[in-house]
Symmetry: C2
Subunit: 491 residues, 2 copies
């Protein structure tokens, strides 16, 4: 099966599309721009959700649920927000269908027109701050630390599975604070949570940084992000955390009485990651044989394939597999015994490689005699023989090693694909020939940002938080600059 | 705080509305028909979700995600389905807003009209069977056992928090099978899962039964349900499981090749429970002082209230509370230490009673001296003194006892409120004066069902699965009947 996959070097984009479909992760639905997340893909998303949800709760957040629909007038309350989101969206205008006069099917009932159109939420700041207005009177009502798991809709014209779809799943945190300082701390805390999740669970190295004015969230004062690098040298924004200042509080008139009794507008943040993370996970690690999943997010850690000719052999192997599986499960390792008699081992090997299962065990009659198991790891394709007695603990260690190795490999790629450039010819050359991240000086103007994008398709991914102060001149305009920013072509 | 609640006897409906709001479970949003589920309410829903999700997985199901939008033509493919669902729904007709000509706000861009309108899913049979058509070719592709956690929209005109809202959260299982027998077994298995969840976790006794033709799901061959009885004597349908026959397979042309190579239509089921369960949970057990939560679904099992006058007392009590809390947490008991110095103990007692926390511990200076704790249970309001040393284990036992007691109490109420009647005068009298479930003979016709509803507002909740065969005559028409069915006025 793996052989059928287009290779990355041949056509990276095609490789991705095929992989998502062949590994049974997702597919396009016939509903414009919407995807179907298939059970195997969804089980990875569930692992992401569970991990993130725990991280949110550990940092004091609670979940809640707000309406899917946003009255049109809400969107219009925050000027830059409506510019950013009201344009391409799904609009509910009617609430009833009726039988068509020709008797064939149903038509929209013109009498059931809504007085005010409803927008299917592209993000929930407006509807949530409208609630916060009712919930917040005094400093004692603050902070509010709420997260929501939900679906959102943005009417994208060109869609790609997980990366850009009209409907997608995400979480959106919306917090309210009595001071700017506390809100900024929250914004940065959640950026750290996202970075931690990306690095430790997705095995994805990310650069933490701040967006330029041109790239920030419509309605935010500052947008922070984590940026990962995919194997084709393009960047992918994996999560954003916004310091909203008092913008939404002012738009929705949310004021609180401080300890001194004085009224002030509430400070806000919002932050989100989405099913886009699935795209990042796939593109960062997978190879020409299929998915490579970091063990911490793999729905199946270990697949066991029996090698047998006779029923008797199969029975004996199965009995041993049951023992081994029980032992593995004791260590919280998820095991799948592929006992199908309709497929040969080679076919099964390829299928589980395609699906990215981190560890494969193969057990044949000779292994039974010798008390051994053949252990193959997905990331490096290396095989070794392990002792049956100790295989559970050895696999546990191996899973940890795989998690680290996948991260190291991605880190190495990023290092190789990050170039410091000091003039625009080099900038263009790198973008054309090598791709990846480029660290270059920028004069801080929108005009330069736009001109560079026009010339190279590269955008400022972020101003890295750890960028050292360094005197230099803008790679494009030659004007002075105090630090390098991160450029790349991006998804 | 509890005192502010309208009593059940005074106005049950008002009591419910106030309770939902005062206990911080949910509130109406300004978006027509949509509710905001507040953090405390959502945390109960999360517990329901986690428990049900595990039960679904333990019975072999996997989660997936299908589009929010359903093309209008899909709904029209199954004749009775469109009758049931296409009428009151949210219809997306446009995909873009633009600045209005007067410069004030945004308006729908008439040029961005969809070729085919999209319906916000009221339920997902159509969009899912449209996918199944692509997924199913042979018997080897079956069964498909998929569940989805999602939001759905049905345009309700009169809404009540949790019980009937335009948007609500639910899960919908959609399974596909190669034989009718297997699909029926699945339908009944999921009914059992729901009943088991209601009885063991919600502490809600339910009657399992089959819906009459008039009450079944549009598109189903048979609809099974669980029916609970609320304290005001009205029934609440808490979950449904549908045997769809080949109806949706035929509507979407989903055929499979059997082992013999012959083509046949696939057999289907669907089953769901929703945030309506929250309404059932609240109405079944709560009292005039507020919520009564069964421990298995309580977000907080134990609240600890310190009784102190001086800072020194507070410090000493806090130290002991930390010890006790650690001990309780070891037993997987969720603990909240209410250490606010802004409220008096009496206020705190009332607040946690309103929120339904099953067990309250109060610790004062004398308790420290004596090594005791005052333990109050929410369900019976009984208090007793426990030994600090053994309080964790004693509370664990108590929580179990509370879970059982709440169930027993609801069961007793249902027994008292279930009446067998044999003539229509008695039927009307019971419905007028007593309410509750009525077990009566019915001739099996739609006409009688409608006439009884017209006269008494009572509907056939179900034909109980355990109804014994019994020769009788219809309570309304006098025609012969072979078993009693369950009538009630219902939510």
């Amino acid at each position: 099966m793996g052989k059928e996959l287009t290779s990355r070097s041949e056509d990276y984009s095609q490789w991705y599309n095929e992989l998502v479909k062949k590994a049974d992760l997702a597919e396009h639905s016939e509903v414009r721009g919407c995807m179907v997340i298939k059970p195997y893909g969804y089980s990875i998303w569930e692992k992401m959700q569970q991990t993130l949800d725990k991280m949110f709760k550990d940092t004091g957040h609670v979940n809640a649920y707000f309406p899917l629909f946003i009255p049109k007038s809400y969107l219009a309350k925050e000027a830059s927000h409506v510019e950013g989101f009201a344009k391409e969206c799904a609009i509910v205008t009617h609430y009833r269908l009726k039988n068509s006069e020709d008797g064939k099917g149903v038509v929209v009932d013109p009498e059931a027109k809504l007085e005010e159109e409803l927008i299917v939420r592209p993000t929930s700041e407006t509807v949530i701050w409208n609630s916060y207005k009712k919930w917040i009177q005094s400093y004692r009502d603050l902070p509010i630390l709420i997260n929501q798991w939900a679906n959102v809709v943005r009417w994208e014209m060109r869609t790609r599975l997980f990366l850009r779809t009209a409907e997608f799943l995400w979480q959106e945190g919306h917090t309210a604070h009595s001071t700017a300082d506390e809100a900024v701390k929250e914004t940065l805390q959640m950026l750290d949570v996202y970075a931690d999740f990306a690095e430790r669970h997705m095995a994805l190295p990310v650069v933490k940084g701040k967006k330029s004015e041109g790239e920030k969230f419509p309605g935010a004062i500052d947008t922070y992000c984590i940026e990962g690098l995919m194997q084709d040298g393009k960047a992918l924004q994996a999560g954003t955390s916004h310091f909203l200042g008092q913008n939404f509080a002012k738009a929705f008139d949310v004021q609180f009485a401080g300890k001194d009794g004085k009224l002030d507008y509430v400070w806000g943040t919002s932050w989100g990651v989405s099913t886009r993370l699935m795209g990042a996970l796939i593109m960062a690690h997978s190879d020409d044989d299929g998915l490579v999943l970091p063990p911490k997010l793999a729905p199946i850690h270990v697949v066991i394939v029996p090698i047998f000719k006779t029923d008797e052999e199969f029975e004996k192997i199965s009995a041993k597999v049951n023992e081994i599986s029980a032992e593995l499960r004791k260590h919280n390792i998820t095991v799948k015994f592929d006992n199908r008699d309709t497929h040969k081992p080679g076919f099964k090997f390829a299928e589980w490689e395609l699906k990215g299962v981190p560890v494969r065990l193969a057990i044949g009659p000779r292994d039974l005699e010798n008390g051994t198991v053949e252990v193959a790891r997905r990331d490096t394709k290396e095989k070794k023989v392990m002792n049956m007695e100790t295989v559970a603990v050895d696999v546990l260690v191996l899973l940890d090693e795989i998690q680290k190795n996948i991260h190291q490999k991605a880190l190495k790629l990023r290092e190789e694909m990050t170039t410091r450039v000091d003039n625009f010819d080099d900038f263009k050359k790198v973008m054309e020939e090598k791709g990846g991240f480029v660290l270059a000086h920028w004069d801080g103007t929108k005009e330069t940002e736009a001109a560079i994008k026009e010339a190279t398709k590269a955008t400022i991914r972020c101003i890295p938080l750890d960028a050292p102060d360094e005197t230099g001149t803008c790679v494009y305009s030659g004007k002075p600059s105090s630090k390098r920013v991160l450029f790349a072509q991006a998804y």
